[in-house]
Amino acid sequence: MAHLTPTPVLEPGQDKTMILNMGPQHPSTHGVLRVLLEIDGETVVRMMPDIGFLHTGIEKTCEAKFYQQVVPLTDRIDYLCPMTNNLCYVLAVEKLLGLEIPPRAQWIRVMMNELTRINSHLVWLGTHAMDIGAMTVFLYCFREREDILRLFEAISGQRMMTSYFRIGGIALEPPLGFFDRLRKFADKFPSRVDEYEGLLTGNPIWKMRTQGVAKISAEDAIALGASGPTLRGSGVDIDLRRDAPYTGYENFKFKVPLGKNGDVFDRYMCRVAELRESIGMVKQALDGLPSGPVKANAPKVVLPDREKMKTEMESLIYHFKIITEGFQVPEGEVYQAIESPRGEMGYYVVSDGSSKPYRVHMRSACLANMQTLPTMCEGRLIADVVAAIGSIDIVLGEIDR
């Protein structure tokens, strides 16, 4: 285990080595990650990630807001998969409250959550390929991502910061024609994945840059707390959607793609296979979508419909009370973990019985995944560092919070 504990400080002026500072403004560090490299020629001897440049104190802010006011904050943590974060937070609060969610809302949640996963994986694939030098893939990926963002806009009014999932259900019934648009997208998407794969999977340059690069064993990945495709790329069969189902995932059929070698290529193959699985789940959700309400029957927690608020006295009172003083949540604590595109996203919410959360902690998948970087990169070339950072798919907003 000792080999996994990073050597602490990088002392400059060691014999034959020098310190190279990569980032925080380096284009391949995906935001504001700073990496300190001790290099001997072109070989990385030691590596130390330095984070915190995007720290905004969201956890502290949450403690000063009502429960329902935290939902828009969770979008901002991970701006590539806003709905996953919404989902994780609302599930945690619903568990604290003991709320039952109607099936239609659950199915729409799964549908949108998988669409978000595709959105996030597309940005990852595009930027990862561009880091390694394949520009075309980036433009193709963003073409499809644009379609998804338009769908997000149609359903929630926002392209990126959707805040679509609410405590007790979803914000609104999707607009007329939305499901047709989504089905059109779902029908054409698998052929688009073929297109990306045609550009990359068999490409000898891509293979040389990724196969056998930045390897990590299953034991090391578990010990370092890696999750998601970073862990599955090393062959560990774990997916929380299947193993600890939430919001109705038990009704869906999907495979969990696994890698074998734990290198950049296997992580790439895992995510590309996930693209296909996710679009399959979107189709399943479209086919089997139950009818019924999209909000739980809990007037003290869920905002009333706009129409009812204008015509019914009681709804108006509830609306006023929820907006002005929030709703009380029974004392207790909950750790809700879900499978985000990057791995295990966990929300630990503690309630002291008031209308504001006593503590909200976000377990960031990226933060743990990033700890695998030194193990992956030490002893390899600087160019491989770029491939390794891309392959663990980090979002610095989620790491720094």
Binding site: G225, A226, G332, E333, V334
Partner: protein, 165 residues
């Protein structure tokens, strides 16, 4: 769906693999248990936390081999003020358990679990950074998110939301 009341009776919860393992090892290490909303919490004695984690990780029956998370809750002004929280997950058995250690407000410190899971490194640094809790035996206990020269620990409850002006 009405919430079931929390179970805190140790006798009733002895059957849980993690509780059973810790009781078989050292009954004094278990300060209390709580089963609420389908989640198991074990309060572990402060000095026993590292060994307790190592035991649970290597348990042959139900190995909690994955450390999901380490965090902390500040219950200021009551004492013991800090509750350090560990979320463990068993990849083979898909079970979760939460370990908690209570710490007093004056010079809070406990043993690091980085020797059990190297992945605890960043989580513990984050708790040190935002709560000011020292982890003895941590290889590199420096601030993680805040600047090196920052004063105070922002997630403590006596730290104002808008910061010191």
């Amino acid at each position: 769906m009405a919430l079931a009341p929390a179970v805190t009776d140790l006798e009733q919860l002895k059957g849980h693999p993690a509780v059973a393992r810790l009781l078989a090892w050292n009954p004094k290490a278990v300060e209390g248990v709580n089963f609420d909303r389908d989640e198991m919490t074990i309060y572990v004695e402060r000095s026993a936390i590292r060994e307790a984690c190592a035991l649970l990780r290597d348990d042959s029956n139900c190995p909690f081999n994955y450390l999901s998370d380490v965090t902390c809750v500040d219950w200021y002004p009551s004492e013991p003020r800090f509750h350090v929280v560990y979320h463990l997950f068993s990849i083979p058995k898909k079970e979760r358990v939460r370990l908690k250690v209570k710490l007093n407000g004056d010079a809070p410190a406990l043993e690091s679990v980085t020797s059990v899971w190297p992945g605890a490194n960043y989580f513990e640094r984050e708790v040190f950074d935002l709560f000011g809790i020292r982890f003895n035996g941590h290889p590199y206990l420096r601030r993680l998110l805040m600047p090196e020269n920052w004063e105070g620990h922002p997630l403590r409850k006596d730290y104002p939301v808008e910061g010191y002006r």
